[in-house]
Symmetry: C2
Subunit: 529 residues, 2 copies
């Protein structure tokens, strides 16, 4: 018991010098940066337009920023809201928050003023760092609704209330305040399984561990140059930058996913890693056709056609040979990787070495191999919880496992198949029916172009299963029901099939299940009050 | 503060199912094994002579072993002493201890009965697992001095009090008891800077983090096959095995560093990694000359001449291109690696991403770049402390940094030079003189074969510096003193030089500084009472 007692005896201000023990959990992102200052002072750390900082310069700025933020009252557990697009200052403020035990939240700037006002009220930040360029009008609309508690500082200005004035005014001396590696340091808003928006809090330990994992799967080293063009409010984008930071590589930031700016940055900085979504890639192809840029560090073909389009790494990286995996914001991004271990039946690989994954039923018992259940995860990269959601946290983290709200199955070889989000559950008699599972089955029929499965209220069975189908050829209701028989358990197969021309969809392109319910008589779901 | 409060609210038995939060620090080695059972059940985990276990089989045996040990009263914080040579059972009992929150200590079986009796008394284990083969007589001598508190179980027997009877008798059901990733799980005895033997306790978090680091530097993957022939009581040997375990590779165990057994194992199992010390390599070369074994997975030349002889990895591993680094048992093995980052002036590289390193003076202030001081380290891999040494732990871990007792300097490029152990400090006037630093200087003279620098009591200066030199050619006292002038600070240069035929040495081959003091009038060291 000695070690446990020793750990408990460490005072909360251990980092300031009075500790009598060395719990490994105290190591955090501030330590990582301080070590880079000692270990690679002259190596380039960040590039953003005309700004270019070595690790020594970055550490000096972060030290002054942290001291200035502390002077404005920011301390352990406080939040800092980033109301801007990508900037090297997002990484600076993350590292400053790391020294203070505070949390940085890069908001999704594509949101409406209403949505951002909710974030502001929910996060209750001590400081808001905002951007005039492109976002000024939106920011003023949001700020008008602030209960005037936060310090508002413009990151792209040079006035008295600007970020650069804050950094310039900070004392030279960097100071660590109390904090541990188990503390959260990053908050990312995400729509959870309950359909509402919550800030998932990720810890120092989680970011460092995920940095080490991605360093391995994506072959990130101290020589890597990572293009941070995808928005930092996405976990995948942030984690690629963190892996680069943890390994002492170079982060090259563009304000947004602008094809010209990205081509220019790749050419100039010789970028080796990037996260690029398909629409942006199309723009880049147009730019690349001009032949003005050397993009050969990321693509070997001039038309940018030889690589998977989302996450680009060196060709020798395990990820390049076997991309893909499963993850979500709440677990720090990807937790399973095809790059880890030999291929198997599932298309989503196996958990990283710092995580564990179980498929469980509604009683939290592990289901049999091959059966569908909820994906639950524990490990170093899992969030410490949602910001200010004690009841939801207790529910999602029950038994020490994070319940993802996603359905999956594990094959006998240990690989995962991600089945779909457990957004709805249909209650048919005593049985639970997951729409996504029935949809996977119906969608296998050659005459089905799209399908959404709903529950229709039923006085005897609580609900019955209905498939709303967009056909791609000639098919009858009877044929589709017969097709499901034997492929899935009888109680799961549709009792009725309705045909339609198109399924209603959300602006993001997902099927709008509420609208399908409204149009095709769905409802009466368990737990829906 | 919310997250901190949430963390504090987690009950100590969180792993049993009553947690309301997910502190990332709770993830441990038991989780790693359980995940391998799910993720790669049919992959080979350990091979040892005729024993061959998949991860599913290993997990089942570990579950029964843990349950049986719990039945013998082993619980959180208890110690298990391994009094045997290498065996797959060392890994099994480590993983069983991981489930119980207990600590396993593989003793150095080359020690005398007196030394092992000290370990037994100091560790106070709940269980001793002992070996008859080669060690039976020694064990009985040690056991005769046990205060009869431990359960003694023979690991290489099949009687009622044998390891295999224990495993066979364990219930099928595996159960986790309270424990966290911050708990120690491995104890390794090491001679510390005070010249005495202490058990350094290494945590789950530290082993997993070091496993990830070595996985990267040494290119350990799920396809790796690690030859565990070097004794497990050495941290370097253990960590290579841990990296293989964490990544889901195969550990191939030989009872001892026997050249024939090793060649046979490499040939049969296609080993990709090994830790082999030079004397063993000579034996293996003799064996290899017979041409009976295919050792091409580790060497491409038949005479085993094309690789560094200590730590062998695939040729594509960063370690193979740039081997070497600095470490000690107390920090979980290697903390700096030439394999991380570009080469620099220092020959020992930079810290791993999960550690930080500072060179400090006697007031714990960081010294200037290039100056010699004590190497201090913090990070995920650092020990939780020595077993039952509260005063020493407070001293060594002061300020939240582990003080290694080793001297080093960092160059402007951030790389480390390891200068030597800070075994003695000479007080000359108000100045501190580290013998190792003076020795480095004197040893640079072409006519010096060996040197030991001591402090001679002096009424005016407290001590004066004396060099005891084994010459390799003609040289005078005056020439050597003049040689040091300008190369090191004047107060550091020897006031006197004494020539001798040979320096007294310890059985391990190190210079016996006490004996040098006795023969050449050394003494009066600060802190020596």
């Amino acid at each position: 018991m000695m070690a446990s007692v020793q750990e408990m005896a460490v005072p909360p201000d251990a980092m300031t010098g009075s500790t009598t023990g060395l719990p490994p959990g105290r190591f955090g992102l501030a330590d990582v940066l301080a070590e880079h200052r000692r270990g690679r002072p002259r190596s380039p750390a960040v590039v953003d337009g005309g700004t270019r900082l070595t690790y020594a310069q970055l550490d000096a700025r972060v030290g002054r920023l942290a001291a200035a933020l502390a002077g404005r009252g920011v301390g352990r557990g406080d939040r800092i809201l980033w109301l801007g697009q990508n900037s090297f200052r997002v990484l600076e403020v993350l590292l400053a928050a790391a020294r203070l035990g505070a949390v940085v939240c890069p908001a999704n700037w594509r949101q409406s003023a209403d949505e951002l006002a909710f974030v502001l009220q929910d996060l209750e930040p001590a400081v808001v760092l905002w951007q005039e360029l492109e976002l000024g009008e939106l920011v003023r609309e949001v700020r008008a609704r602030d209960a005037a508690r936060a310090h508002w500082l413009q990151h792209d200005g040079d006035g008295a209330d600007s970020y650069e004035a804050l950094v310039a005014g900070g004392p030279e001396q960097a100071k660590y305040v109390a904090g541990t590696g188990q503390d959260p340091v990053l908050g990312l808003y995400t729509v959870a399984a309950d359909g509402r928006s919550h800030a998932a809090l990720l810890s120092h330990a989680g970011l460092i561990a995920q940095g080490m994992v991605i360093s391995h799967t994506h072959e990130v080293t101290d020589a890597s140059v990572c293009l941070d063009s995808a928005p930092f409010f996405h976990v995948a984008s942030f984690m690629l930058a963190i892996a680069t930071l943890v390994r002492g590589g170079l982060n090259v930031v563009t304000r947004r996913a602008d094809g010209v700016a990205m081509c220019e940055a790749i050419d100039r900085e010789r970028c080796t890693h990037a996260l690029i979504f398909p629409p942006t890639l199309e723009t880049m192809r147009d730019v690349a056709r001009g032949g003005h840029y050397d993009l050969s560090t990321l693509w070997s073909t001039p038309d940018l056609s030889d690589r998977p389009t989302t996450m680009l790494t060196p060709l020798s990286a395990p990820w390049a040979r076997r991309p893909g995996g499963y993850g979500q914001t709440e677990v720090g991004g990807l937790v399973t990787f095809n790059a880890l271990g030999p291929p198997g039946e599932g298309g989503f690989g196996r958990p990283s070495p710092v995580t564990a994954l179980r498929i469980v039923d509604e009683h939290d018992e592990e289901v049999a191999t091959g059966d569908v259940g909820e994906i639950s995860i524990r490990g170093l990269t899992v969030m410490t919880g949602y910001h200010r959601r004690p009841e939801l946290n207790a529910l999602r983290a029950r038994g020490g496992w994070h319940h993802t709200g996603d359905l999956g199955r594990r094959h006998a070889d240990g690989t995962l198949t991600f089945v779909g989000p457990k957004t709805r559950m249909i209650k048919s008699g005593a049985e639970n029916v997951y729409p996504t599972e029935v949809e996977s089955c119906v969608a296998g029929h050659p005459a089905v172009a799209a399908v959404c499965v709903i529950g229709v209220p039923d006085p005897r069975w609580t609900q019955t299963v209905r498939a709303v189908v967009v056909p791609s050829g000639a098919v009858t209701e009877e044929e589709l029901i017969e097709y499901c028989r034997g492929r899935i358990a009888s109680y799961k197969k549709p009792r009725s099939v309705v045909f339609t021309d198109a399924l209603p969809r959300t602006p993001r392109g997902d099927v709008d299940r509420d609208a399908v319910d409204t149009r095709f008589d769905g409802g009466g779901y368990p737990g829906a009050g």
